[in-house]
Each structure stands twice: as C-alpha cells, then as structure tokens.
C-alpha cells in the first residue's frame, strides 16, 4: 500500500469525527452500497484528539481569565499586598523552615506579580497550561482524554477564587501559587520518572523524587504516589510480580518514611504535620473550615486515576462517544463548580477596591464605590467612607447621605469570623492619626499571618509620621528590595534623612495633624477598631485642630449622644465663624433642640428653612402617621429611606442595631 492510499481514509475519518454524527450520514450517502455491518464506528482520530486537547487547554485559559481577571482582579491585587517576597537570604531561610520551602519561596516570588492582576493571572494560567500537558505526557494519557486532565487545574482555579475572607487569614506562605507550582513540579517529577523503563532505574528515580521532599513537601509525596500508580497500571512490561510491585512498594515506603526521617530537621513542624507539609489548612482559633480544602484534596486524588485512563490510540465507537461525553461533562461541571465557588459577594470586592483607593488616597473613588452599593454597606466600608469624607472636608454635608448600615461580612462557605482588625484596621487607624494602633495591628497580624507588603508600608508611614526615622529606614530598606514597592520606598526615603521633607509629602498632612493634636493615653481597643474609634473621638475635645475637632463632632453624631454633641457643636461654630453651618450639623442641632429643648434653646439659631426645618417637620409628620397606621419602626424606616435616608434624622431614628466586628 502506498503512502497516499494510506492517507485517504484517515482524512475521511478526521472529517467525520470533527463534524460528528451528521457527517457520518453524509458518508453513508456517498457510499450507499455499504451495508450496516460495514459502517465505520465513530472514531477520534489523531487530529480530532489534538483539537479536543487544544479545546481543553483553551477552556482552562478562558475560564481562568474570566474568573481571575474579569471577576477577581481586585482580590488578586489584595492577595499580593498580603503576601511578601524579598531576595534577601533570610526570606529563603524562613521559607525553608518547613518542608516544601522552595515552593513557598517561589510562590511568594510569583504572587507579587498580582500587583498587575492580569500579569499574575497570565503567569498562573501559563503554569496551569504547562501542568496540563505535563500530566498528559507524564501519565501517557491519550490526547483525546485531555479534558479529564483539566480537572486538577480547575481545582487550582477554584482554590484561588473560593477563598473569600480567608484571604486575610491564610497562613501558608505563598498560598496563591503554592498549589499551582506544587502540582506543576509533581507532574514534572512524574514525567521524569516515566522516561525510565528499567526496574532499577525506576527505583533510583523514586529515591531521587523522595529526596526532593524538603524542597517540595507534600507535592513530593504526591509525586511518589503517582509513580506508584503508573507502575501498577503499566501493562506493557514482562515483569514478574515481584518486579511489578517493587517500585510501588518502595515509593509507598518512602512516603511513609521520608517525612518521619526528616522530622528532626524541622523543629517548628509537628510530627503529624510532616506528611501534609504544604497542604493548606484553613484554621483560625477554633474554626476549621473544610470547604476551601476540598479543591486541594480533589487535586491530590484525581491524578491517581490518570494512569488508568484507556490507552487506546484512536477511541472508537462507544469509547469515542465516551470521550465526547466526558469532555462535555468536564466542561459543564467545571463551569458550574467555578461559578458556584467564585466568591462574588459585592461588599467583599468593594471593600478591597475601597481599601486600595484609600491607600492611594483616591477619595473620590472611595466615595464612588460607596455610592454604587447595591445593598447595605459593611462597617468597614462605612469607616472608609468616613475617612474619605474627612479628607475631602465633606463630613458635615455628606456623612449621612451614604448607606450607614452594617452588613456583616458574608461567609457563604464557612463559619470564619471576620474581624476588622485583621482586614483593614491598620489603615483605618492610620487615617485617624492612631499610628501606634496601626503599628500594633500590623505586628499582631504579621505574627499571625506573616509579613506582607501592606503591613510594611503602613509601619513605614507610621514611623515617618511619628518621627521614628531609623525604624522607617528599616521598613523602607526592606521594601526597596521588592519589585513593586521599591519606587514607593525610594520616594519616601529622603524623609528619613531630612524629616522636614515630610511637609512636602501632602499625603501625610491630615494624619500628622490628627496625630499631633491628639493626647497620649494608655488604653486598648479590645480588638474592636470601630468601637474604640467612636468612643475615643466622641469623647475628645480639641480646639487647636479643625480637622480633629470636626472628627470628634461627627463621631459624637454617630454615637447619637446629645450631651456629647452640644459642646462639640458649639466649638465647631466657634472655629468656623462666618462660615455656613454644614447641613448635618444643622439637622442634628435642630433635632436635639426639639427632642430636649430644656438643654439648649435653638430658637435663635439660623437654620436652613427648607432643608432643615421643613424637612424635619415633614419627616416627623410622615413617621408619626406611618407609625399610627400600625407599621413597625423598621418598616417605617424602610418606607422613609428613599425620601429621608440622606438625613441625620433618619440615621438617628432608623439606623439601629448596628454590630461592629
């Protein structure tokens, strides 16, 4: 048979397969003389298999890009800011204190690229693509079955997007790339193993893989187990039974023995954790969350079956249909799973965007986020809004025009208790001039969850504002060794040499003013940032700083404390002579004057007739009539929200039962 004659039917087959059943019918039409016995079954040819494999790869990329870049860019940026990498040797030594240290170190290196989320996500997807093909070659999986091999990668995608508020509580160094790199390297090791055919070579390679345990941890053990499955599934050799079980036995023995043997090298690891070093546990205090661990468990289990995937070169008939069915099922399942587990809580993402905007002092963006809220704000968002208004000088006119409710942080998947001191308190304290408390929580959080760029930035700022130039140098020196925070650190460095230069950096102006005019006392926040700030500022009086004074007045308003309000109101009036009294302060004065006329006589005060007096009267009238109609107070509040939700009156009467966290 000539080469040409050989090619023709192949081409026909390819055509048939790509087009599926319809083309089969066409073929039948073109060859009407064929009987049903002669019908060729549906076959997945080499070309079709490649198409399927590319489709699987493309599917991973598209799904990854959709979830990572389109939906979670804000989260990825936050993820890198809560991570840390430096080229300094100490960092490598720190990482190597646990088995799998090399993965942790490399992962933290890669995580920094989420500073540009699309770049970081592309790197991540690139490694996923690499893992996909490595696993195919390592397990000698036929190209047609590629879709199955995408499942571990889908696990990695899920583990990235389902983490929710655990983002702030993850303790694994380089979590974001850890699984991705671990799986990639495991596949690389398995591929290396698969090159060897002789029994002794296989045993030697098995031992070599075991030696990687200190660097790769759990993923080294997984690689060993996978090699065992390959040996067990291998039907090609003419090995004796002993020969067949030698490698799997050695691999499994090494899995049991290597972590135990290495235990004495790792004084900071519990013996029972040696076998799972590198597996991320989601635990905090008494909370153990299994949900975020599921993708990693599935990721570990799935490749055990790869070696048993049918080795048929060109699946035909039922097998071919099986390939199609599995491919479609994998795609559908992956889509549903990722869709379901993508933590798309609006406030969760909005908090991150607001945090970043506040960090960059983009106050308009903070307020824009607040304006576009579809539901109730979390208390963290309310505080961010307050900070933005303080900095734009609009507290008196806009403080109550935004949503001031207190939606609890959502936790769709588990019972993690989110505390503001672990999410945004350092930044919130900083913008309130409470730099010591910022430093405290930066250190507390770095003790619990490791160092990160964000903490170092905050502590550097506090040191500069507090005049602690030597410790500022320390933090800036460290940041100068990073890729994305180097410029930021170098920009501020001259202040450490000449503290007067801080006056030229206007980003510090308001923080310095608040801090400088605050007294120092010995106290504590008991882990409740907002309650502490409200109590502290609402009970503070200051006439030397208009900024601080206005903050005390506003927090007295939030406290709804009439006795605290009046002295701060009068002091505000005194400090802002010949200026129009902002609307919210007028509203509060008019309300309190009416509620407790015996305290202060407001008859001589020049209130805005239309926006304050008439609105108050209308507000009272409407609320009374609604209450009289039998509506309950919360329902009245809801009914009046659209008309009066922008007033202090509404806040005073209907914004209740707010729980900070």
């Amino acid at each position: 048979m000539t080469k040409n004659s050989n090619r023709k039917p192949m081409a026909t087959q390819a055509k048939n397969t790509v087009s599926g059943g319809k083309v089969s019918q066409q073929t039948t039409k073109q060859a009407p003389k064929r009987t049903s016995k002669e019908k060729k079954p549906v076959t997945i040819t080499k070309g079709a298999a490649i198409v399927l494999a590319l489709l699987a790869t493309l599917f991973v990329v598209v799904l990854g890009a959709f979830h990572l870049i389109a939906r979670n860019s804000d989260m990825l940026f936050m993820a890198q800011s809560k991570d840390f990498f430096t080229t300094n040797r100490q960092w490598l030594d720190d990482c190597m204190m646990q088995p799998g240290g090399l993965i942790a170190w490399t992962s933290s290196f890669l995580t920094q690229f989420f500073y540009h989320p699309a770049l970081g996500a592309s790197i991540m997807m690139g490694i996923w693509g690499g893992s996909l093909w490595l696993s195919k070659w390592a397990f000698r999986v036929r190209t047609a079955w590629m879709a199955i091999l995408t499942l571990p990668v889908i696990c990695l995608l899920v583990s990235t997007i389902d983490i929710g508020y655990w983002l702030y509580y993850v303790k694994q160094t380089g979590y974001w790339f850890y699984g991705t790199l671990g799986y990639f390297v495991a596949m690389l090791l398995v591929l290396f193993f698969s090159f060897f055919k002789k029994r002794m070579d296989k045993v030697i390679v098995t031992v070599l893989i075991a030696i990687t345990y200190p660097f790769l941890g759990w993923y080294s053990l997984l690689a060993l187990i996978y090699t065992a499955t390959i040996s067990i599934a291998d039907k090609s050799g003419s090995e004796t039974l002993v020969g067949k079980i030698a490698q799997p036995l050695i691999a499994l023995l090494l899995v049991a023995a290597i972590p135990y043997g290495c235990y004495f090298l790792y004084p900071e690891v519990r013996l029972e954790d040696m076998w799972t070093a590198g597996f991320p546990y989601f635990t905090n205090d008494d909370i153990i969350s299994v949900y975020p661990e599921v993708p990693f468990i599935v990721l570990a289990i799935l490749p055990l079956g790869f070696a048993f995937i049918p080795k048929e070169k060109e699946p035909k008939g039922l097998a071919a249909w099986g390939v199609y069915a599995v491919t479609i099922a994998v795609f559908v399942f992956s889509y549903i799973w990722t869709e379901k587990r993508d933590f798309q809580n609006y406030n969760y993402h909005a908090e991150m965007r607001m945090y970043r905007a506040a960090d960059e002092q983009d106050w308009e963006k903070v307020l824009d986020e607040m304006s576009s809220l579809p539901g109730d704000a979390s208390r963290q968002m309310v505080l961010m809004k307050n900070i933005a208004l303080l900095n734009t000088g609009e507290m008196g006119t806009k403080m109550f025009k935004y949503n001031n409710m207190g939606a609890n942080p959502a936790n769709d998947f588990d019972t993690l208790h989110v505390h503001m001191v672990q999410t945004a308190a350092p930044l919130i304290y900083y913008y309130h001039g409470k730099t010591n408390f910022t430093v405290r929580w930066c250190i507390e959080n770095s003790v619990e969850f490791g160092n990160d760029y964000d903490n170092l930035k905050m502590m550097a700022r506090c040191a500069l504002v507090g005049g602690e130039m030597d410790v500022a140098k320390k933090y800036l020196d460290i940041l100068k060794t990073t890729i994305y925070y180097k410029d930021w650190a170098e920009d501020l460095w001259p202040i450490t040499e000449n503290p007067e230069l801080i006056k030229e950096h206007h980003e510090f102006d308001n923080v310095r003013e608040l801090r400088d005019h605050m007294g120092t006392v010995l106290d504590g926040d008991n882990g409740l940032c907002e309650m502490y700030l409200l109590n502290y500022f609402s009970n503070t009086m200051n006439k030397d700083s208009k900024l601080l004074q206005e903050l005390t007045l506003n927090y007295a308003l939030v406290q709804k404390d009439i006795q605290l309000f009046w002295p701060r109101f009068f002091l505000y009036a005194q400090l802002h002579k010949d200026q129009e009294m902002p609307i919210h302060y007028q509203e509060a004065a008019y309300l309190y004057g009416n509620l407790e006329p015996q305290n202060v006589n407001i008859s001589g005060m020049p209130f805005d007739q239309k926006n304050v007096i008439e609105r108050y009267q209308n507000f009272q009238q409407l609320s009374q009539s609604l209450l009289a109609s039998g509506m309950k107070t919360p329902d009245v509040g809801e009914a009046m929200k659209s008309s009066y939700g922008d007033t202090f009156y509404w806040f005073y009467f209907f914004c209740r039962d707010i729980h900070s966290y």
Partner: protein, 501 residues
C-alpha cells in the same frame, strides 16, 4: 564541553570567589572621618575567640575594600558594600592579635572615585567569651503570638540552631507562648523555660533529666515567671506575677507591661515543692537573682498601694502606671534550711531618684551588679530611657555604663561565665527591635564600647523583623533536642506541691 570540565571551571570560580582579597586602591582621597559602617565595630574590644566581624559600609559606595592590619600581617576584604571575612583567616588574625589590636582601613568607591577613611582599631582581648548564647526570637511583642523559638548561637561561628520552637506542638486552638529560658551556672544540664497556654508548664532539665512541672499552686499568684537558678543547690527562685498589657495611643514607647500582683517563690526541684520567699502587702516583688555563693538573693520590689476600691486593680494600675517604681533589695539565704532573713533595700531608686530599677544580675566574682534603670515600671525593654547601670556591691556605688548604653532602650544585662563580658538587650538600631550587644568588662571594672553580636550577613539585623529576647550566656550547647522537648511538652505537667515555710 564535557560535564567534568564545566564542574572544574565552576569549582575554580568558587575557589577564586571565596578567596577574594581585593587590592587596595592606589588613588584614594583621604577622609578625616571614620567610615559609616554597620554594625558599628569601630574601637571595640572583642573576645579572642569570636566569629568574624563582618560589616557593611554605608557610604553609598559601589565597592569597598577593608585592609586589616594585625601583628605579623595584613589582609584585605571587600564584596560590593560588604566586608565579609573568611572564618579560617579570621581565626588566624585573632590568634596573632590576642592582647593587641587590628587596624582597619576602609576604602569606598563613591561615584567612581575612591575614598580612604580614617582607620579604626578593633582591640582583641586576651579573654575568651562563652561559646554559646541563647535568646528567644519573637516579634516585638503585643498580644498575639504564633511562631516563637528559643535559639542557641555559637559565638565562635555563625551557627545557630533552635532549642525549642513552639510550633512543634502548637495548633490554632493550642497556641503556645514560650519564655524565660534560664541556666544554672551557665551550663545546660540544669535549665528551664516556660510554656504558657497550650500544653502549659515549665520545662525543667534537672541534671540532664527532662521534666514538665506545673508551678501554680492554690497559694501562689501564678506559676513561676522570672527565674533564677540557685548556684549550689537544686533550687530556683521565681517571681509570680499577674501581668497586664496596655497600649500608648501615641507615645513612642508604644506598650506598657505592668504587674498588678507580684511575689517571690522558691522551688525545690528535687522535692518538687514551692514555698514563699516574699509576699508582702503593697509590694510588687520581682526579678530574683542569686549571689554566686548562693547566700544572698537580690530582687526588685515596688511599693504600690491601691487607693481606689471602686475600680479594678488593672484599671488603677493603668491610670497610675508612672507611679510604679522598683527599688533593689537583698535577703540572706541559708541553703540548708531554705530560710531567708535580713531583707534590706540596697538601692533606693524610687524615692531618692524617682527611678525604677529592674533585672539585677550579679557578676560571677560577686563584686558587681548590673541592672536596668528607667523612669518607671518593670518592662524596660519598651522604655526608651532605660539604661544599664553598674553597682559595686562592696561600696554600693552605682554608675551608668555609658559605653554600653545608647539613646534608646537597654535592658536585660547579663554576665559571661568569666565575668569579662557583658551582654545586653538593646534597641539602639531603631528603637523597636531588640538586638544582643556585647561589651568588654575589664579587670579594673570598666566597661568598653558595646558591639552587636556579629552575623554572617552584616545586613541581617536590618532585614530581620524579630527581636532577640533575654540573651543568656552558656558555656555549652543545650543537648536536649527540640523534638525531645516537644514530646515532653505534650505530656501532662507534674503539679508542684506547696510547702509552708
């Protein structure tokens, strides 16, 4: 190219790199000042058995060269901004310089032109230093704790290893704090440290045997806190404390740690018995330490009377924290009967100076006492004004050790076993992170300029975001392994018995 050729070339390259002795710049411009080097090793006196004093030159240079001239030779070093000295060569240099000095000339290439700085000396004492020190590695502490370790460092090399790491037993729900490692007579066959919270107890190595003891009794405030091993008998004096922590909203000191209650106890290791040393009303007794013959116990005590019954003692303590000032006391001790007598105030810091004295340590010859002094309080590591003072126990005269102190906090002084070296916890670098510094204490009772414990990478301290707590000298390493400690830690603690005096 053949593989073995590549390896040969690489090996030669490594050899050349490791033996890098740069040549001295010939056209350097002479500067009249000393170079800015870190750590500051200018004009310091060092032990004749210490590891190399690697340093970094902070002159904005691209390259530096340091010429070390010593009796019988000279050597040059330089690696970009760092001066990294070969360990074997350094040993030879020290051997030749014992009792003499090493002159260091530093050259720096700044903006393409070389500068030669005023040379400085490193004096090499004939006295050796104890081979080992140990310290707790911890973030500047607030409330949270996670990864803590007690490490031992060989001062004659850069080797460091962990004695115990709390993560070897800790889980999220059984988090463990470790503290107050202490040794009997600088040896490690009798040593201890505490574990709090998860798997709590005091780990005591007694004559090489590891025990876990619960020192809390119904009659005492707490388990043992600040320890002091008796030098001749198997006793340990402890303070017992009810300790609180609060935070300055703005002050540079950041944290106050206060004891609302504080007494002293004696623990008989062999009998597993706790007895009271001192539990006076209105006195906060703390920081016990023995004289080398074991016949005197020194300690600190603050007189503090609670005045307001309507508020909690903790609240009143926070409100009046500046009033808490500790004096120095001594009491005679009979090791055979375990009786204390003749308690007397030997240094009135509170009333006469308005100061607070803490952390006394007596020199091995019994002649001197070191202590930390600041305006108020007991936790001087967070007090920027805290300095180290020396008391001549013969004359009772005190003097500030200016050569040891810095404008920032110095605390936790301790002596080497031969009494020739002082080690202090200092925040001189940045006011926030404590580093161990060592100073020579000569036979005439004079302290010399303190220097940081050398590190292989001279930038180590800059990048290290943890503190070194309670630096202690040891003449030998701890031989119990971290895993053995971890195993014992998981066992139940043996309850100490209370014995009435």
């Amino acid at each position: 190219m053949k593989l073995h050729k590549i390896f040969t070339i690489m090996a030669v390259a490594c050899l050349i790199a490791s033996c890098n002795h740069p040549s001295i710049p010939t056209n350097a411009k002479q500067e009249s000042r000393l170079p800015n080097i870190y750590p500051d090793y200018t004009e310091v006196t060092i032990p004749c058995n210490i590891c190399p004093l690697n340093f970094v030159v902070r002159e904005g240079a691209t390259d530096v060269v340091a010429k070390l001239t010593y009796p019988g030779g000279e050597m040059t070093y330089g690696n970009e901004q760092k001066v990294l000295i070969d360990e074997e060569e350094w040993k030879e240099i020290l051997k030749a310089s014992k009792g003499e000095s090493i002159q260091v000339e530093v050259y720096a290439n700044v903006n393409g032109s070389w500068k030669a700085f005023k040379p400085f000396n490193i004096y090499v004492a004939e006295d050796t230093i104890d081979h080992y020190i140990s310290y707790r590695v911890i973030q500047p502490s607030y409330v949270a704790y996670e990864k803590l370790s007690i490490n031992q460092r060989d001062l004659t090399s850069f080797n460091e290893r962990e004695i115990y790491n709390n993560m070897s037993v800790s889980t999220e729900s059984t988090g463990q704090c470790i503290n107050c490692h202490s040794y009997k007579n600088f040896k490690t066959d009798n040593m201890l440290f505490h574990m709090r919270q998860g798997y709590g107890g005091t780990m005591i190595v007694s004559n090489g045997e590891l025990k876990k003891i619960d020192l809390k009794t119904d009659e005492t405030i707490s388990a043992g806190v600040y320890p002091a091993w008796h030098p001749t008998h198997n006793y340990i004096a402890f303070s017992t404390n009810k300790t609180g922590q609060s935070f300055h909203t703005k002050h540079i000191n950041k944290i106050e740690v206060q004891d609302t209650e504080s007494d002293l106890i004696l623990y008989d290791v062999d009998k597993n018995e706790v007895s009271i040393i001192s539990e006076l009303d209105d006195e906060l007794e703390v920081f016990p330490t023995w004289s080398p013959d074991g016949k005197k116990l020194y300690f600190c005590s603050a007189h503090f009377e609670y005045q307001n019954d309507s508020i909690a003692p903790e609240t009143e303590m926070i409100q009046r924290y500046k009033e808490v000032k500790y004096d120095l006391y001594s009491a005679d001790f009979d090791p055979e009967t375990k009786q204390f007598s003749n308690m007397e105030k030997i240094f009135d810091a509170a009333d006469s100076l308005g100061q607070s004295v803490t952390l006394p340590r007596v020199s091995p010859d019994g002649r001197y006492m070191l202590f930390a002094k600041a305006e108020f309080g007991c936790f001087h590591v967070w007090h920027n004004d805290a300095d180290i003072f020396l008391m001549d126990l013969k004359t009772k005269k005190t003097e500030e050790l200016k050569a040891v102190n810095s404008p920032r906090s110095e605390s936790y002084p301790t002596w080497s076993s031969n009494g020739r070296w002082i080690m202090v916890d200092s925040r001189r670098d940045d006011g926030n992170y404590t580093r161990p510094v060592i100073a020579y204490f000569d036979k005439s009772g004079k302290a010399h300029k303190a220097f940081a414990v050398p590190q292989q990478d001279p930038n180590f301290y800059t990048f290290f975001l943890r503190s070194f707590n309670r630096p202690e000298f040891m003449i030998e390493p701890v031989t119990v392994t971290p895993q053995e400690f971890a195993k014992k830690a998981k066992e139940d603690a043996v309850k100490a018995k209370f014995a009435k005096n």
